[in-house]
């Protein structure tokens, strides 16, 4: 999402070289985390839907739930967690230098990042994509009709580059109006300073919900870029990668199997489905490879619910949700035509 600057890359590469050699020989991340007694999970400066502070100073959001899930898997207690908020410029460095155990924030999984920064992306928990918002009364229904339009965009991100590429490819002659802060971008758009705004569809949905009259604006169906947002860990500790990856998969699998926060006790005791029993640790030994207790997945679901519940709460129509429809989107379960798919847990 954010443009990975040269400085970030350089710093992260230096780190990777400096620490790469020592990671293998040192204690495993799981041991370090257990010894410390809490998980250090990195998010970014507040971003609606993913990680926010409420007025009592608590964190909430989709990515925060992933942090809580991993903490619950390890300790059986989602509160044994320290959320760190790190700026985009320092995010990969802070992971690589050991300050954070886990990065769970809106970081797009790209090949460069995965292969050159000394970090590993694990499991996508949200598929985002860049789109356009326009006023309904403008009559525009497709991005191709934006010929010669003025488009408001935040600067210094891949969003801006994607917009320029899109304009050139389709010969649209779009002029960019750039802003540092998306609140100012939206104010300008609302006051008629530009014909459309562009950004990640998820965050635009959140922003539109805060417009004086949300019904007057629509997000166009076109998608300019692929933005798979995934959690990441340091390169080189496979056990730790497995823990984080399968914690996310457990959320998705639970939804598929119909296990919810409310019925998880009942399911563990009474379910006849061997898949459910295996996942919740009532049968088999799935936990052994991870080095966790047998009820790790049970603890996750008990603490934060399954993926569908989390989505509903923070991304969907829940009280704290930003109202992005899930039906028919990439974030629906694979059985509903989306991309949310967990390998079998057996």
């Amino acid at each position: 999402m954010k443009l990975s600057t040269h400085i970030t890359a350089l710093a992260a590469i230096t780190t990777a070289m400096a620490t790469g050699a020592t990671v293998a020989s040192a204690e495993s991340t799981l041991e370090i985390v257990k010894e410390r007694g809490h998980l250090r999970c990195q998010v970014g400066p507040p971003s609606p839907g993913y990680y926010n502070l409420d007025s009592d100073g608590n964190w909430y959001g989709l990515d925060v739930s992933v942090c809580q899930a991993v903490a619950a898997a390890i300790f059986g207690d989602q509160t044994k967690l320290e959320i760190q908020s790190v700026s985009s410029q320092a995010r990969f460095t802070a992971l690589a230098n050991g300050e954070s155990d886990l990065l769970s924030r809106t970081a797009t999984w790209t090949m460069t990042r995965d292969t050159q920064l000394g970090i590993d992306f694990l499991a996508t928990n949200f598929y985002d994509g860049q789109g356009f918002t326009v006023r309904k009364d403008s009559g525009i229904t497709s991005a191709m009709e934006l010929k010669g339009a003025k488009v408001c965009v935040t600067t210094g991100t891949t969003t801006e580059l994607n917009l320029t590429d899109f304009s050139r490819q389709n010969n649209l002659n779009i002029s960019n109006v750039t802003f540092e802060d998306y609140n100012v971008r939206d104010d300008t758009y609302l006051n008629g300073g530009c014909d459309a705004t562009t950004g990640d569809k998820s965050s635009m949905a959140g922003n539109i919900s805060a417009f004086p009259v949300p019904g007057d604006h629509i997000i166009l169906p076109d998608t300019l870029s692929k933005e798979p947002l995934a959690s990441a860990v340091r390169h080189g500790d496979n056990q730790w990668s497995d823990i984080v990856r399968w914690s996310v998969f457990a959320l998705i699998n639970a939804e598929e199997l119909g296990v919810t926060q409310a019925n998880v006790d009942d399911m563990r005791a009474n379910s006849k489905d061997p898949n459910v029993l295996r996942m919740l640790g009532a049968e088999g030994n799935l936990n052994e490879g991870l080095g966790l207790e047998s009820d790790w997945a049970y603890n996750i679901i008990k603490a934060v619910g399954n993926y569908g519940e989390i989505y509903e709460k923070y991304m969907g129509d829940g009280e704290l949700g930003i109202g992005i429809p899930r039906e028919g989107s990439l974030n629906a379960l694979w059985t509903n035509g989306g991309l949310m798919y967990s390998p079998p847990m057996r």
Binding site: P48, L53, A90
Partner: protein, 442 residues
Amino acid sequence: MAIIKAEKTPDRSAPLFETSVIGWLHKNLFSSVFNTLLTILMLYIVYLTVSGVFVWGFADATFVAENRRECYDNSLTGACWAGVIHWLDNIFYGRYPRDQIWRINYGALLLVLWMAPLWMSRVKGKVLVGATVVVFYPFIAGYLFSGGDKGFFMQLMIASSIVAFAINMANMIAGLTKSLGLNAFIIQMLGQTNAPDKTQRNILLLLTALAFGAAYLWQMGWTVEGVSWTKWGGLFLTLVISGIGIASSLPGGIILALGRRSKLTVIRVLCVSFIEVFRSVPLITVLFMATTMFPLFMPEGFVLNKLVQVIIAVILFNACYMAETVRAGLQAIPRGQYEGAHTIGLGYWKTMGLVIMPQALKHMIPNIVGSFIGLLKDTTLVSIIGLFDILGMLRSISKDVPWIGLHKEPLIFGAILFFILCFSMSKYSRHLEVKLSAGKQH
């Protein structure tokens, strides 16, 4: 016909033109057609601005609402202060546990009480009062704010702080009631005024030791729940960082400035390069270096408290600016002052401490306070590296789902808060200048 009268003619009153309001208006606002036009234009602009701000910020504004949608339902054009009001705890105390907020309030109250004697002219020993604030207050406040287990050293320092605070308060009462220092007051009470100096000193030392023992036993029973620094935030964090920065950058700056003027080459070169390096790098770079690059040089798994790194960076950075301010003040002192001090047999430290610095510091007050105000405002940069200081908190309001997009009102509120803080610092510096130069005149 006598032109000269024996008695003085009574004074005529000043012409109406000079004293009445209308006269003043006529002279200052409507003296010519052009000025009249300008006045009317300006009044119109003032009216537009003030009425616009009033309607937006007060008449049409919403003060009570559960979320931003309710604000819009109430008025589409007015401000939505309800969001700011909901977030007040976050803005002032950050993520500090809500049931522990009294600790921050008590800490602030303690500081105010501790420093109160500095404003009271009858109280003696102000230099000592100032010194105890800098030396002891940080320990007791540090424990109050962060809590947890106390080490032996911490227990000693807390007990000392209690004693220092108690002596300070007793001294204030003695000063206010009898205009005496506490030591003189105690000796008088015990009827030992004529006892030899040594006896008097021993009595005072004994009393202090007893007080220390009592304070040590008393504080052993105290425990407050540990609060991680990651939960510190809001105005509280801003004041902690800038307070420590202010308290330590001046001594640091004095040392660096003296080092820069030193005759010893090694010290001079070290000081010059230190000052020049830090002054030629922007603060944000220093902060990034301190928080992201510094851990790379440390052994793996070693994570230094980010807050401490930030505070150290702020202190070093500001000490360098302060050093140049102090050096400017030192250069304003004529050579004769140094020579005079030498002729009466003062060494380097006494020359500096008794003759040069008191004069130099007085000249530097406006610049020093200017740096302090700058420091207070600069600390908001820490929000960029992920600490939730007051700016970080204000910006987070627009991301909280019930208040999503609410960004103008919080920033305006922050601007007002900063204005109050900076303006009072500036007023205090004017007061100091007047007070100190009044001392020079008689």
